[in-house]
């Protein structure tokens, strides 16, 4: 016997989902741009494919990223995905090894124990298969129990908050939770009757539920199992579980070099579907941890964008600090997508910047750009220039008489056209300077120069430039012995991946002491973000003080930062600790170099440490 009507719900569901996945994958691939398709074909037969397969296993099945976050949470995801995968693989092998031949209908391996009660023809494999099938079933059941437990006590699994799901997700998740207990029940009933199981199902069938009327439960149990599977498959494309097929495609495309562009694309659609709404982004978000705003995080923003249109509050309530981006186990380009979405719905229309006239500045090898935020912290400029002078740098201060904004705040708020006007003006200014390198003390400007300007000369953050000068022995510092906590600015650490240079530089003058694990790529935002316009000053101050309470080591005399905006935000929020820029701390401890090197014969900077 190789057919029974109870297999129908499963078969229909499976047929539907397979067809749906094939159609969707095809549509997505066909709709990629010409250029994207070209690079995919070109790189299909390369090491990238192997690497993508490995990443699919590592993240899709084993969930390494989630393990790194919390072992129990990682185990929960791993046991469900990997356990289920192994059950399917082993079930198929078992059915193929059975002497009746290798070609089976798709439902047959899933319900193998229903069809074959006598497993002795498997000979020496019988023991190992029944053991492994029970083992992985136990693993999946433990994962489901954890998932169920997580709904009530998510903190145990390292999550303060979990996602609030919509109806379709609730149906899908209920079906998913039922699948494995029902499978356990069906197999245990069968094992109770026919001894087809091993340590787990045999034990339950013969010792726990043996006095139930197993004969009568046999068919209903298998029906129920099949129905749960069918319901799950039918709801899958419309629920969060579409992430399973979408994530695999995403991993491959990403490996081939496809990424988000300046506006939404087909790749965005794939990314939106690849979000499982796991909710890890909610705890990563300081709007949630400091201000209790827990309904605008990517889990919700991406969901609404996938189904229809996020509302203004959802779109705008984000500091663009990229902490969620860092935390996302799937690696969805969340911040880019939000920025693109803001472009489609600009909140205001930026007026013309035609009144900004160009200034004439002397030419020099190094162009220094302080930026708007730099001009709001004049002591940072003063210290930076004092260090330049001490190192005998041939520089020109290209926004000395009042700056033209770099454009980044406008970009973050969707004002591309207005930003372009500023970019053109600044590009002209930079070109006129005749400089071989552009140095800025503002990470926001540095990131904008690096990503939107297409400059012919390298861009350096002042921490990089000053470090080079120090390494070239053009600057010399006294070790003050003071303890200092360094705070990584978002745009510098997550935006440009510059985390070691500021530390290395500071260590010439002070001793670093950090009180928190939330540093480098995981650093906390100061709350002063230019990417958000709908929170109050008091709320920003709350974020700033929460961040300081978390990161400042008790023994620290100063908080050092490398961003004028962070510096200002932290300084205004509290009086407890003095906040200084790296340049200010260094200038205090400057020990005038014994040998002054003539700038004329030197290249301003080695090109290795530049921001690409």
């Amino acid at each position: 016997m190789r057919y029974h009507p109870f297999t129908l719900p499963f078969s229909i569901g499976l047929g539907f989902i397979m067809l749906y996945i094939i159609v969707m994958w095809t549509i997505w691939i066909v709709r990629l741009s010409r250029r994207e398709q070209k690079i995919v074909w070109k790189r299909l037969f390369s090491f990238r494919t192997i690497s993508a397969i490995w990443e699919s296993i590592r993240e899709g099945l084993l969930h390494r990223n989630i393990f790194k976050r919390n072992v129990l949470l990682g185990y929960m995801h791993m046991s469900l995905a990997f356990g289920w995968f192994m059950l399917i693989v082993l079930g198929n092998l078992e059915a193929r090894l059975y002497p009746h031949g290798v070609i089976n209908p798709p439902y047959y391996p899933i319900f193998f124990e229903f069809f074959r009660h006598d497993l002795t023809p498997l000979h020496e494999y019988e023991e190992i298969f029944t053991f492994l099938m029970d083992f992985f079933l136990l693993m999946v059941i433990s994962g489901v129990s954890l998932a169920f437990f997580k709904r009530f006590r998510s903190r145990t699994l390292g999550m303060k908050r979990t996602t609030r799901h919509i109806l379709i997700d609730r149906i899908a998740i209920t079906a998913l939770w039922f699948i494995f207990p029902l499978r356990l029940f069906a197999e245990s009933v069968t094992a109770g009757l026919y001894n087809t199981g091993h340590f787990f199902t045999n034990f339950i069938g013969q010792w726990v539920i043996y006095n139930l009327p197993l004969d009568y439960l046999y068919y209903p149990a298998w029906w129920a199992y099949s129905i749960a599977l069918g319901v799950f498959f039918i709801t899958m494309p419309f629920s969060r579980y579409m992430h399973i097929p979408a994530e695999i495609l995403l991993i491959f495309l990403r490996k081939y070099g496809v990424k988000e562009k300046e506006s939404h694309s087909t790749f965005t659609k794939i990314e939106l579907s690849a979000c499982s709404r796991c909710g890890i982004c909610i705890d990563a978000c300081q709007l949630s941890t400091s201000l209790n705003i827990s309904d605008t995080q990517p889990a919700y923003f991406i969901r609404d964008l996938r189904y229809s249109q996020p509302n203004e509050r959802l779109r705008e309530t984000c500091m663009m600090c990229m902490r969620c981006l860092e935390a996302c186990p799937v690696g969805i380009e969340i911040t880019r997508i939000r920025e693109n979405e803001r472009r489609e719905h600009p909140l205001f229309s930026a007026s013309s910047y035609g009144y900004i006239n160009g200034y004439k500045y002397p030419k020099a090898k190094v162009a220094y750009f302080a930026g708007c935020m730099g001009h709001l912290t004049p002591s940072v400029i003063k210290s930076t220039l004092a260090l330049f002078d001490a190192a005998n740098v041939d520089y020109t201060f290209i926004d000395k008489n009042g700056s033209i904004c770099c454009g980044r705040p406008l970009q973050m708020n969707g004002q591309v056209e207005a930003a372009k006007q500023l970019i053109d003006k600044n590009n002209h200014l930079i070109g006129e300077s005749g400089a071989e390198v552009l140095v800025t003390s503002c990470p926001i400007c540095a990131r904008e120069f690096a990503t939107s300007y297409h400059l012919a000369i390298p861009v350096l953050h002042h921490s990089q430039f000053l470090l080079e000068l120090t390494q070239q022995k053009r600057l010399n510092f006294n070790q003050s012995g003071l303890k200092v906590t360094y705070h990584d600015p978002c745009e510098l650490s997550r935006g440009l991946h510059i985390t070691s240079e500021p530390r290395e530089l500071l260590q010439h003058a002070v001793i670093l002491s950090n009180g928190s694990k939330e540093t480098e790529s995981k650093s906390l935002c100061c709350g002063g973000s230019l990417g958000i316009t709908n929170i109050s000053m008091a709320e920003r101050n709350k974020i700033a003080t929460d961040t300081l309470n978390e990161i400042v080591a008790e023994s620290s005399s100063y908080l050092a930062t490398a961003c004028p905006m962070c510096r200002k935000t932290f300084a205004n929020a509290q009086d407890k600790i003095k906040v200084l820029d790296i340049a200010e701390i260094l200038e205090k401890n400057l020990n005038f170099a014994p040998e002054k090197v003539s700038e004329k014969n030197q290249s301003p900077i080695k090109q290795q440490a530049v921001i690409s």
Partner: protein, 337 residues
């Protein structure tokens, strides 16, 4: 004889002490500085009629004839209440009182907190208080190098109406002070060009509007716009950037001197003092008053009263009124006890 302790020997404290002494109470004033008179003693002339502030301070000081008595350089660092009596501690000495008046006044907003204005970084950025000092000393403002400035800008609302530095409230007196000082500069240096950068001009008191009109007639320029930032140019001139919000145009100009109209901040130390009495600061950090309309000197704690700029920005008239009001309320309280 019932005793009243007045904490703070500025205009409010001195006036209240004198009134209470005349009512027959034994009054002691505790002043943490080495001289009485508070901030007012540091000013040159007062708005609206440009009377010399020394006249006001001297008259108030003349009441100190034994009762009220004054302890100078005496900071009260602990107050406790026990059976309707208060014990005030300073330098391990304990004073007893039946009622306490908090008259600790205000502090000037620390202008360096508004870093982008360059106070403490650029040579010729000064505060309105420092300008008063210059008038007192020379009769005219001087640049760091000793020269007279020929072009000045007064920046209103520094540390007032500014959420970014946690001072969301209006300090009330700076608008008219700027107008007064601008006129005084014009009179001292007739060729000087003077600009006032304001948000709103709040000329609410008697004679204030007249002063504003006089300033306009004397050629002082009023520009509606907040200063965004200042930078230093060659020769220690200051470049200031603002937006003329009436014509929606960004504006840049270089001046010889920038005067920051610093607002009133809660006095440091008042927090601990009132906390010891079980009081809390209001949302702006000043001493909380229970009834702003009918009893503006009463606090939550019986026997503790507050008057003057410790309850929020005040001008001298307001402070004198509050001091007298407090004297009456303390009298009523001590008689009903």
């Amino acid at each position: 004889m019932k005793k009243v302790a007045v904490i703070g020997g500025g205009v409010t404290g001195l006036e209240a002490a004198s009134q209470l002494a005349q009512m027959g109470y034994t009054v002691t004033v505790f002043e943490k500085n080495s001289a009485a008179g508070g901030h007012v003693s540091k000013w040159d002339r007062l708005f609206p009629n440009r009377r010399h502030s020394i006249e006001v301070v001297n008259e108030l000081k003349s009441y100190l004839n034994g009762n009220p008595a004054i302890y100078l350089s005496t900071a009260i660092n602990k107050v406790t209440k026990k059976d309707n009596r208060f014990q005030l501690e300073a330098y391990n000495q304990v004073f007893e009182a039946d009622a306490v008046l908090i008259a600790t006044g205000f502090e000037l907003f620390p202008a360096e907190r508004k870093e982008e204005y360059g106070y403490g970084i650029y040579d010729n950025v000064i505060t309105s208080a420092e300008l008063e000092g210059m008038f007192k000393e020379n009769g005219y403002p001087v640049k760091r190098n000793g020269d007279k400035p020929k072009r000045l800008a007064f920046i209103h609302c520094v540390g007032s109406r500014d959420e970014k530095v946690k001072r969301p409230y209006c300090s009330k007196v700076c608008c008219v002070t700027a107008v007064k000082q601008a006129i005084e500069v014009k009179e001292a240096i007739p060729e000087a060009e003077i600009f006032c950068l304001y948000m709103d001009l709040r000329m609410f008191g008697p004679g204030y509007e007249d002063l504003y009109k006089e300033a306009q007639q004397k050629g002082i320029n009023f520009i509606r716009g907040r200063l965004s930032e200042a930078s230093e140019l060659e020769g220690s001139r200051v470049l200031i950037k603002t937006e003329d919000t009436l014509s929606s145009k960004p504006l840049k100009m270089s001046v010889d001197m920038v005067v920051l109209m610093v607002g009133m901040s809660p006095a440091q130390g008042t927090d601990e003092l009132i906390a010891a009495l079980g009081l809390q600061p209001n949302k702006d950090g000043f001493v909380e008053i229970t009834d702003y309309h009918l009893n503006p000197v009463k606090t939550k704690v019986d026997g503790v009263f507050a008057a003057g700029a410790c309850t929020g920005p005040n001008n001298i008239t307001d402070s004198i009124n509050a001091a007298r009001s407090a004297a009456v309320e303390i009298h009523k309280y001590l008689n009903n006890k």
